[in-house]
């Protein structure tokens, strides 16, 4: 799971700068392939990481996981060697001086129990250490002495391709780093316990080897000159856990008395040399009980905590909810899949400038109500006459509800009107100039000749039928569109009540 977590962190780091929509699309495609077996959060993330390993560039998790396991194996081997060497040194016996029981207990029981103390401090949860000022610093300092730090040291020698993504993902100060802190702590403490167990096993093996293949003599000696009865009480306390099951491993008082060793005189003359070897069951039982068993328990604890912290990191690492959202939320798209085809630009729009309205040199006008502007013919004629000060000789209708043939008749009639008269189309300014009107104007021009004045008058209208000036934006559209016809005798003349335009 450590490998999966590393890959999760590295992948989130890689995804950080990528567009969210693209990531969503990628992840939903991956999820589609995972259905329906991955539903639970962690399984979903694991399946996601697994799928990404096949599609993404190299993810270092598995390689790092293998290296981590290799490092544990190296630590175990080192521990075995160190334990054997320590046992060989402490149980060293050349016949000149017996093995000192006090020394054995000091190294394999006392020192190991003492080492458990800082380890206990390091293992304390953060919520407790935060309560005591300075405790965190102590904890961090002590952690540096853990043999598990060897993992960190060895990690520096990893190939760049593996080390780089990991260091960038876990750079100091990042949120991930803080969350990974718990994992890191137990990932270091776990191999430390493996090392300690290997050390104890190595020491036990060395000890048993020497006991089996050589004739060891044990005695106890100390300048403190304790009373043998006090020593017996101490050994009684130490052997309490196993005394009932293995009585031979609890040294009796007479053994203690008989194996007291003095530098000058050696052991007592009354001592039976066959008893000098009877200390070993006690020593082996002590090494197992106070050296090996606590470490086995701590290994189980560290392993359990590592597993728990990994599970927790999977659920809580910053950014993981974003990944889960992508994995679980459907990818909804409503946008167009193809770009818009740009509207054709008309060169006349750029080249033609807005011409000033052609003077109304026509003496008379025929008015065309285009598309059913809601005003009575008489009213329209009067308003046009008033606005333009010209004689209105007729009002006709085109567009709108008129049929195509009626329009054709209107064009013919207009063409037949006196050549000196003009034609004014009054149009709804708010409606855009559609091609039907353009067709009508072209037909009209063709029939009426190129010189006949044609006016297009965009207008607004009130509910009373009173014509009003058009909105400037509407007028601009009309002018722009009709300019494209490039007809010099066609004029756009916005409705103006005063007739000034």
């Amino acid at each position: 799971m450590l490998a999966d977590l590393i890959d999760l962190v590295v992948q989130m780091q890689r995804d950080a700068g990528r567009p969210e929509v693209a990531l969503h699309r990628r992840d939903r495609a991956l999820v589609a392939a995972l259905r329906p077996h991955a539903r639970e959060t962690r399984s979903l993330l694991l399946a996601w990481i697994d799928a990404l390993r096949r599609t993404e560039a190299h993810l270092p998790g598995r390689a790092l996981g293998a290296i981590y396991r290799l490092q544990i194996v190296i630590l175990v081997l080192l521990g075995l060697v160190a334990g054997w060497v320590a046992a060989a040194a402490v149980y060293s016996y050349d016949g000149s001086r017996p093995v000192n029981v006090v020394q054995v207990l000091a190294v394999f029981v006392g020192a190991q129990l003492l080492l458990l103390l800082p380890l206990g401090v390091v293992m304390l949860p953060q919520r407790l250490t935060h309560l005591v000022p300075g405790f965190v610093a102590v904890q961090e300092a002590l952690a540096w002495f853990s043999p598990g730090q060897l993992v960190r040291l060895l990690a520096r020698w990893l190939p760049q391709g593996i080390r780089q993504p990991l260091t960038s993902a876990t750079r100091s100060g990042s949120l991930q780093t803080r969350q990974l802190g718990g994992v890191q702590k137990w990932a270091i403490l776990f191999p430390a316990q493996a090392f300690a167990i290997a050390f104890n096993l190595g020491a036990l093996a060395g000890c048993l080897y020497l006991i089996t293949f050589s004739d060891l003599a044990f005695a106890w000696s100390t300048t403190l000159e304790p009373d043998p009865e006090q020593v017996h009480r101490l050994t009684g306390i130490l052997s309490a856990p196993w005394a009932r099951f293995v009585p031979d491993a609890a040294p009796p008082l007479d053994l203690i008395r008989e194996t007291l060793y003095y530098r000058q005189t050696g052991v007592s003359d009354l001592s039976d040399p066959s008893r000098w070897g009877q200390w070993w069951p006690f020593l082996v039982a002590s090494m197992i009980t106070y050296g090996l068993l606590p470490r086995l328990a701590l290994l189980a604890l560290a392993g359990g905590q590592l597993h728990r912290s990994l599970r927790r990191a999977f659920a809580e690492i910053p950014g993981v909810t974003l990944v889960l959202d992508r994995l679980t939320c459907e990818l909804v798209s409503t946008q167009a899949t193809s770009p818009e085809v740009p509207a054709p630009t008309n060169s006349a729009d750029q080249t033609l400038t807005s011409a000033s309205p052609t003077p109304l040199d026509a003496g008379e006008l025929t008015v065309v109500n285009w598309s059913g502007l809601e005003v009575a013919d008489e009213s329209l004629a009067l308003q046009c006459q008033a606005a333009w000060s010209r004689q209105i000789i007729g009002v006709r209708h085109a567009g709108g509800r008129s049929s195509i043939s009626e329009d054709e008749e209107t064009v013919a009639a207009l063409a037949a009107s006196p050549p000196s008269s003009g034609i004014a189309l009054v149009v709804k300014a708010w409606e855009p100039p559609v091609m039907e009107l353009i067709d009508f104007l072209r037909d009209l021009r063709q029939s009426a000749g190129s010189r006949r004045l044609i006016i297009v008058a965009p207008t607004g209208i009130q509910a009373t039928g009173q014509l009003t000036p058009p909105q400037p934006a509407d007028l601009a559209q009309w002018e722009k569109r009709l300019r494209r016809l490039q007809d010099p005798a066609l004029s756009v003349r916005p409705w103006s009540q005063g007739g000034a335009s």
């Binding site: 409503t334 946008q335 598309s371 039907e436």
Partner: protein, 462 residues
């Protein structure tokens, strides 16, 4: 059965593209006052994980409706064959320039698309619309009329009367102003047009609603991340013997402020991207008026909290911390912790109201000195940043994609925003306090995302 397709048709320049842009949340649609901007059909499929649930088709406007109807009438046989005549028209004139728009817009309809006929309710009904509606009636396809008032909705009544003669369903839909729920209602109404379409559209509605929640949450996350980054921002520079203290101090102050602004702008961009807005021209005071705006006391008063409120929120945070102490002592402190915490919090709230950034001169472990700006400990800073972000989100989440023009962020967002509920306010304060103290653990950030998303959800209901 193929998924429903809706062709959005109508007279030129009556808001067809606006409707499509809003319903498809796509701001790439050209919307122009100039008629004839849309010359080709454009498809907007609504897909869920690649599966299409429905599609909208933006079409060009009618240009020669009377001529088309004239041709159809000339080729009319019996009423039951009207649709066949329309199909024959398209087949006969496909490729001809004269009926290019009509063939283009009728093609999806003869292929089975439903009709959304769009008119502008701000201008009077006119007889030039009748041929268009008649042609659409001839197609025999399920249809709905949408009155989209581009200006003041003065002519809704006459339009309804006229459209009612041609369409079974007539609805008013303001493409620019319609809120998310109105868009959803409209989609549901599409489902009423034909029984087979209902299931697909209901599913589309559910997916869009889920997606809306996702968007809110993504936006909330962007804002929470931005806030956390702004609150932990630190700028430092080594002081060399040649450096002048004052000039370096103002330089790193400026860098710090620039850092804050750039984080805030990134957060804005992310929120806009979440809501598929890619073309917003944003105008926000902080961009140009930094000294008088984001960091000045008056801004705290405008965007954040008044000093009295600062005291209140400070007290709330302090009391919360004190209460934790009380809880740990099993209540043996007789709630003195909460009372004391409230007092200290209130005082801190008051004293630190105006200090955004302190520049400190620190020793470097191996010799030398450095100037360090940030992180800010100003109590109201997260409130200010959040209020600005909330205002921006409020506008962006409601902004329809057919709306063009700048997004102006008010200097007084509190006037434009609904008041925060008491629960949201105290929860925000708690999370801000955690962030200010640098404990931006996953719980804090996710908790902040939750409360911001809840605020946004409440905002949407306003």
């Amino acid at each position: 059965m193929s998924e429903p397709v809706f062709a959005v048709v109508g007279h030129p320049n009556k808001g067809k593209s606006s409707i499509v842009s809003t319903l498809a949340s796509d701001d790439s649609v050209s919307i122009s006052p100039e008629p004839g901007t849309t010359t080709r059909c454009r498809r907007f499929p609504m897909t869920v994980d690649g599966e299409e649930l429905y599609a909208l088709v933006d079409t060009p406007g009618f240009q020669r409706a009377r001529r088309v109807l004239h041709w159809m009438r000339q080729h009319e046989t019996t009423a039951d064959r009207h649709a066949e005549v329309v199909r024959r028209f398209v087949e006969t004139h496909r490729g001809e320039e004269v009926f290019a728009e009509e063939c283009e817009l009728l093609q999806p309809i003869i292929d089975g698309a439903g009709i959304l006929y769009v008119v502008d309710g701000s201008v009077p009904f006119g007889e030039e619309y009748e041929p268009e509606m008649e042609i659409l009636r001839w197609t025999g396809q399920p249809s709905m009329a949408l009155i989209n008032p581009i200006g003041p909705a003065d002519y809704i009544g006459p339009w309804k009367a006229a459209l009612g003669q041609y369409f079974k369903v007539v609805r008013v839909f303001d493409a620019v102003m319609a809120e998310f729920e109105k868009r959803i209602d409209l989609l549901r109404a599409f489902g009423q047009l034909q029984e087979e379409w209902r299931e697909s559209l209901e599913r589309a509605v559910r997916c869009l609603q889920h997606d809306r929640e996702r968007q809110r949450r993504f936006a909330a996350r962007a804002i929470a991340d931005g806030l956390a980054s702004m609150l932990s921002l630190q700028v430092e520079e080594k002081l060399t013997s040649r450096d002048k203290f004052d000039s370096l101090r103002s330089e790193i102050e400026a860098r710090f402020q620039e850092g804050l602004r750039s984080l805030e702008q990134r957060c804005r961009d992310e929120v806009e991207t979440v809501y598929s807005h890619r073309r917003i021209d944003r105008r926000e005071a902080a961009l140009t008026q930094l000294d008088e705006d984001l960091f000045a006391e008056k801004t705290w008063l405008v965007f954040g909290l008044r000093k009295r409120e600062l005291m209140a929120t400070g007290a709330m945070g302090g009391a919360a911390s004190g209460a934790v102490v009380d809880a740990q002592l099993g209540g043996m402190s007789f709630l003195l912790g909460a009372a004391l915490g409230a007092g200290i919090g209130a005082a801190l709230g008051w004293w630190t109201a105006d200090r955004l950034v302190k520049v400190r001169l620190l020793d470097i472990p191996l010799g030398g000195k450095k100037l360090v700006a940030g992180p800010t400990r100003n109590r109201s800073f997260p409130h200010v940043v959040f209020n600005r972000a909330r205002h921006h989100h409020f506008l962006v989440a409601r902004r329809n994609h057919s709306l063009r023009g700048e997004l102006a962020l008010s200097e007084h967002p509190d006037d434009a925003l609904p008041p925060l509920s008491k629960n949201h306010r105290s929860e925000l304060e708690r999370r801000f306090e955690q962030l200010r103290k640098g404990s931006e653990g996953p719980d804090t950030l996710e908790g902040l995302v939750d409360v911001i998303a809840a605020v946004f959800s409440a905002d949407e209901k306003e």
